[in-house]
């Protein structure tokens, strides 16, 4: 697997799972918070990619 987007999403998934389990006690809260974190990580990654796109290096 060499897709940058897929690897970034996989990384975000692992980090979201661990942070959600660390900071929330109830499984439902963990699921909601984990989903928000995952969406935030992937969204921020895509936005950062677009912002950096015009840079020549």
């Amino acid at each position: 697997m060499t897709s940058h987007l897929a690897l970034m999403a996989l990384f975000a998934l692992f980090v979201s799972i661990v942070f959600a389990a660390l900071t929330r006690d109830e499984p439902r809260e963990q699921l909601l918070f984990g989903a928000k974190l995952f969406a935030g990580f992937v969204g921020a990654g895509i936005v950062a990619g677009w912002v950096l796109y015009p840079l020549p290096f």
Partner: protein, 131 residues
């Protein structure tokens, strides 16, 4: 409802044993303290993240005091506990710097180790009755 181990404040010796177990095997501290769901989650997610890093041809960095950044990377890697030493013993994690996924592999393994350190601190807080 039965009180779990987490509901009691642990002695300092037990607390440190829990921390060592939590470092050696991700999630073991939470399992010891009766937080089964969290323990299993950490065990699966962190070990899988570390193995993914190995699969992506990342490198397990050596402790090299003359190169501070390499030493810091090694410190992050070793945070995953026994998995680090098992991988080293199996000659995994040599890293292939020309692989397109090399940096991803490094990031996966280092972050897995650093997240496990957070998990150890969480287990410490639970054992101390703070959570």
């Amino acid at each position: 409802m039965h009180a779990t181990a987490a509901d009691r404040v642990q002695s300092s010796t037990t607390t440190y044993l829990i921390c060592v177990a939590a470092w050696a095997i991700p999630g073991a501290g939470h399992l010891w303290l009766g937080r089964r769901q969290k323990g299993v989650t950490f065990l699966i997610a962190l070990v899988l993240m570390f193995v993914t890093g190995l699969w992506l041809e990342g490198r397990l960095f050596p402790f090299e005091p003359s190169q501070p950044l390499v030493a810091l990377a090694a410190f992050a890697d070793v945070g995953i506990g026994l998995s680090f030493f098992v991988a080293k013993a199996m000659h995994a994690g040599a890293g292939r710097v020309v692989a397109i996924t090399y940096e991803y592999g490094n990031a996966f393994m280092m972050v897995a180790g650093l997240l496990n350190m957070l998990v150890v601190l969480d287990a410490f807080d639970i054992a101390q009755g703070r959570k």
